[in-house]
């Protein structure tokens, strides 16, 4: 039974943001690090970015609508530049972020990219997920694990600031504020305003200041409003009692601040100005890219330092989100799992977590809990496939695992009658034996995908990829992470 100890997968990350669109292609090395006859332990051992695209301005049809055809042309050009064809891409993610995510662009982009995306690309949007990818791409997640210091990454882009707090490498908190470098647009290297966005209007109103499209502004006129916005960014880090303006600009619930913050990293388009030695001195410097990004970056640094936050430099600034998307969106299941299937990959599997506390004692009571949840979520009306997620059996004893298996089969009986596969995601290391127990108690063919050592608590949907490493593990993409529920 030959089996390789090492496999490489090529992953693409595409980030379509308010201002910029980027793409990276990375190669992930997956290895069984437990050699010899030991129990396998399959891990992602290396992530190498093999191609970074140019940074493109996001092609727009008008202010609200992304030009999906142009986006697909960008992707095509970059694949060519990297010497890759769509068939060579194994996995990855498209993330539509910032302001653009609010607009109804997702569908058009998914359609336009369908042919480029390989087997396993997903389109995801949502500020929290974006924040986490950015923090992983910037290196904040790794930093928090290596230095054992709680680190907050703020990805400040064109339209939004996305916060992700990391504790020992894990995202524990996230939030999104409607502040970014592109909220007011100018003639490039000039001082004439060409556009004022809604959140910028809000900030102006709060300051009692008035600016209009077509107007020319001086640096002293512009600075206070940018300072106010930078102040809001820091406000979210400092306290849970926010100023009126911060409250209005928050797009998600604020950070819960359950952990004291040791370090702050800024990624995104304005990051380079946060870490610059000097701030912009003239309007021409401020509006070098037709917005006020450089000034926002500088004011943010001033504000953070004034309030005693310690800034750490990220490894990636403007490409943090796209690198995070390309390299971090794939999770691996545990290495002893039970797969009896021929449907993988499956996308958009709805995750349901019926057990809020300890798993009940008998198969009947387990089944009841499942049925109730199925009824509550109207799973019977849902065309797609669901996965049942849980921490683990009542105890790790064989008896309890077997009882859980019986309970699951009972509770899912009606669902399984529709010839759908039984998908289970367990946190505890018992996927293989749970699958075995299920297999031993059904008398008709049943597809069972029972994977373990994955936490899917915070996600609503997962994509499960084709098995890797001779069926030892499956890649899983978790979607729609929301911490503040």
């Amino acid at each position: 039974m030959p089996e390789s100890t090492n496999q490489r997968i090529t992953s693409v990350g595409i980030d379509i943001g308010t201002t910029t669109t980027q793409l990276v292609i990375s190669q992930l090395t997956i290895e069984n690090t437990a050699s010899g006859t030991l129990v396998p332990r399959v891990e992602i051992t290396d992530k190498e970015v093999i191609h970074r695209s140019r940074i493109y301005f996001t092609p727009l049809l008008d202010r609200d609508l992304i030009n999906a055809v142009e986006v697909s042309k960008i992707v095509e050009t970059e694949y060519m530049a990297a010497g890759l064809t769509p068939e060579m891409i194994d996995t990855g993610a498209v993330i539509i972020t910032g302001e653009t995510a609010k607009k109804e662009n997702a569908k058009a982009i998914i359609d336009a990219l369908a042919g480029f995306a390989g087997d396993f690309v997903v389109a995801t949007a949502g500020a929290n997920l974006e924040a986490i990818y950015a923090g992983k791409g910037s290196g904040a997640a790794l930093y928090s694990a290596q230095r054992h210091q709680v680190t907050v990454n703020i990805d400040v882009g064109g339209g939004t600031s996305n916060y992700a707090m990391f504790h020992e490498g894990k995202a524990v908190d996230s939030s999104c504020l409607n502040v970014g470098g592109h909220l007011i647009e100018f003639e490039r290297q000039g001082d004439r305003i060409t556009y004022i966005s809604e959140p910028a209007e809000t900030a102006l109103k709060h300051r009692g200041q008035r600016l209009q499209v077509g107007e020319r502004v001086t640096l002293p006129q512009l600075r206070p409003i940018v300072k106010a916005m930078a102040g809001c960014v820091v406000d979210v880090l400092k306290t849970s009692v926010h100023t009126e303006l911060t409250k209005e600009l928050l797009m998600t619930p604020p950070l819960q601040l359950a952990h004291p913050i040791r370090k702050v990293m800024i990624s995104g388009g304005v990051a380079d100005y946060v870490y610059a030695l000097n701030g912009p001195m003239t309007m021409a410097e401020v509006t070098a890219f037709g917005d006020f990004g450089p000034l926002l970056g500088w004011e943010l640094k001033v504000c953070l330092e004034r309030d005693g936050f310690v800034l750490e430099k990220p490894e990636e600034t403007v490409r943090a989100t796209v690198i995070g998307t390309g390299t971090q969106s794939v999770n691996l299941s545990g290495s002893t799992i039970h797969l009896q299937e021929n449907t993988l990959p499956i996308r958009n599997v709805m995750v349901i977590s019926p057990f809020t506390s300890l798993i009940p004692e008998t198969p009947q009571s387990i089944a009841e809990v499942i049925k109730k949840e199925i009824l509550r979520l109207q799973v019977d009306r849902f065309e797609g496939i669901v996965a049942i997620a849980m921490k683990g059996p009542r105890t790790m004893s064989f008896a309890n695992i077997d009882i859980l298996a019986q309970g699951l089969l009972l509770g899912m009986h009606d669902y399984l009658c529709k010839a759908k596969p039984l998908i289970l995601v367990v946190e505890a290391d018992c996927g293989k034996v749970l699958g075995q127990c299920i297999n031993a108690s059904v008398n008709k063919p049943l597809e069972v995908i029972c994977i373990d050592q994955l936490e899917v608590d915070n996600c609503d949907y997962i994509d499960i990829g084709k098995p890797l490493m001779g069926g030892r593990v499956v890649p899983v993409v978790l979607k729609t992470l929301v911490f503040n529920r």
Partner: protein, 302 residues
């Protein structure tokens, strides 16, 4: 510490006892007993009734007085049951660390010297035979005796065990009876269920007392199974005394060397959970059967 010869010593003993009592490590009764013995220069006879159990603080509790980065210590402690981040008292371990060390050592000794209980074997419905080592002492001093069955055992096995099965399962106490009692109830049913689902013919598992790994070769020579698997108690350490290994071999014979065996170690609740191990071992045995080889020979075929 049983006899105090001079005043100074008595004072020292008294203050140490007071300190221990204050920290809750010694009951008042216990303290009085030690003091009385010290004052009267009589040997201290431990009175089990007056002694109270010491409960240890949880392993993950911070033992370092002024950690520079408490998160770092916590994260590292989470990664290993080793004795790290335990602080120190001057150049020595803290009382709690020392007591925990002694207690863990006692647990390890118990695991080696205790027998798997008759009640357990009955509950698990396991036939029991013995190796050629007739006592624990002999077992420890003469590894060679633990590697073959006693004459009586040879008779029982040849009479009672099914011959020519695909897989024979042995449960062997080895160096930890504790490991057997802790893991077999969850491992064995998972393994048997897995093998049966795979349509593999399995002989009735039985227990070998005072056995070592090689005893499987002797059993295989009698039952003539294709694969023989020993679930055997590992030499206990100070981290856990509950760890079990599975040693498997395909058709051992007089030329068999250690490298012909496949081993999966570290089966216990803090390592590979026993039930999951049972399911995994099913896979490994299937591979061995398919390759008609185990150990290094199996790896070379992969």
């Amino acid at each position: 510490m049983t006899v105090a010869n001079n005043e100074l010593e008595k004072v020292i003993i008294q203050s140490v006892m007071e300190e221990l009592a204050k920290k809750g490590l010694l009951s008042h009764k216990g303290k009085d007993q030690v003091m009385a013995a010290a004052m009267m220069d009589t040997p201290l006879v431990p009175n089990t009734e007056s002694e109270e159990m010491v409960t240890f603080p949880p392993q993950e509790e911070m033992q370092i007085s002024n950690p520079f980065n408490a998160d770092a210590v916590k994260a590292m402690k989470k990664l290993t049951p080793a004795r790290i981040g335990i602080g120190r008292a001057g150049t020595r371990p803290k009382t709690m660390s020392l007591l925990r060390f002694l207690a863990d050592h006692a647990v390890a000794q118990d695991a080696v010297f205790l027998d798997v209980s008759e009640e357990f074997l009955r509950r698990m419905n396991l036939m029991s035979v013995q190796s050629a080592a007739t006592s624990k002492d002999e077992f420890l001093q003469r590894p060679d005796l633990g590697r073959r069955l006693s004459e009586e055992a040879v008779k029982i096995v040849s009479e009672k065990c099914e011959k020519n099965v695909q897989v024979q399962i042995l449960i062997v106490d080895g160096l930890s009876s504790t490991a057997i009692e802790a893991n077999i109830p969850d491992l064995l049913p998972a393994l048997i269920q897995g093998l049966k689902s795979a349509g593999i013919k399995v002989g009735a598992p039985f227990f070998v007392k005072n056995g070592r790994v090689w005893v499987q070769d002797h059993v295989a020579s009698i039952v003539n199974s294709e694969v023989i698997i020993s679930l055997i108690g590992e030499r206990p350490g100070l981290g856990t005394a509950e760890s079990l290994s599975a040693y498997m071999i395909y058709r051992p014979n007089e030329n068999t060397v250690e490298a012909d065996r496949t081993v999966i170690s570290n089966i216990h609740k803090g390592g590979i959970p026993p039930a999951e191990a049972g399911a995994h071992l099913t896979d490994v045995i299937q591979q061995i059967l398919a390759a008609k080889a185990s150990g290094v020979k199996l790896n070379q075929q992969k």
